[in-house]
Amino acid sequence: MNRGDVIEFHLDTRSGVSPYLQVVHQVRHALRLGLLLEGDQLPTVKEVVAHLAINPNTVLKAYKELEHAGLVAARPGIGTFVTKTLSDSSLAAHGPLRQELQRWLGKARRAGLDDESIEALFRDCFRSALDEGVA
């Protein structure tokens, strides 16, 4: 069990995504990648606002939404703790898959694709795989 300092939030003010949603996404992302585990404590509201200079209500709203989704639980006077993980047995497969993807990215670059083309190609493949019910 880790206390508080397991995750540090950051804010992209140009993304157009509201700050509270950015906090929610970052927690979900960390849960999915296995960076946050059951029992871990999220930073306190005071810690987050002192770091990001954002309104405390923004953090409270994000934590409430995560609580509503059953991912964390608030223990009054103590803090907010992770109660569920989003990573599963598939987490073990992340490493090899990441390596393969990196190799593929290297190939794409050598073939002369720029960032935008790589992203477009990936998205297109991802979408057509979804349509075919493969992914």
Binding site: T13, G16, S18, V49, A50, L52, I54, N57
Partner: protein
Amino acid sequence: MTAVLDTEGLTKRYGRRSALSDCTLSIPSGHVVGLVGPNGAGKTTLLHLAVGLLQPTSGTIEVLGSRPAESPAQLGRVGFVAQETPTYEALSVADHLNFGAWLNPSFDAEMAGRRIDELGLDLRQKAGHLSGGQRAQLALTLAIAKRPELLILDEPVAGLDPLARRAFLQYLMESVAEHELSVILSSHLVADLERVCDYLVVLVASHVQVVGEVEGLLASHYRLSGPRRDPSSLPSSQEVIESSHTERQSTMLVRIESPILDPAWTVEEVSLEDLVLAYMGRASDAGRVQRRSGRAFR
């Protein structure tokens, strides 16, 4: 719950010039309120009325349920940091802390001392030799150490560099989380407000243009773009705040209470900055039209 700021028809005139006109507001507690507007809009006038430095010409104002500055107790409940975060140049940091403790019965000297320590300020340093950022932090520390229920800040970060500005807002937000303060802060920098404020008041040319919780405001304003169209042909439930037109296309920022059903429009969400600028633009356009027609009559 008592409103932190409650005004009705509040007006302040200097001779024939109105600094604040017919301002009616009721701001609930527990918010960080951004008071936005161009320079000369009346922001400082409103804040000075709220702390009792000015008396209204007409209308009423109540702060935390009482008349501003009506009693020592009322003075103790409201913290105020004036524009440019003034300090006493010839006095040391320690003198400021002692002065604060002497003037405010509820002064939290221990907290103030700890904060000065965290900031790395030398207690013997004269305030006149502090940097702008350090001076602002000292003024904020004093205002927070008096443990007010409402903290009023007039353009606190306007003169600070980005790093000092961030540090100032970090400490302010930390204090809000810790002491559950309500805050009213004026600024003409919308980017800062976007992070820290959850309630907005837009003031232009002495008039309040729009008031409300940021979340609610963002959920009721949209940018519509589509084939060229006369703004007056929109349904009455859509108030046009800003519109621009090319030969073929119209783009409008509208306030709506119900969903947009017209399929001709592409509907986009707006940022707080877009929203503020739209209201400011509308108000200054109206001002120009008024002035122009005024001349025509003469």
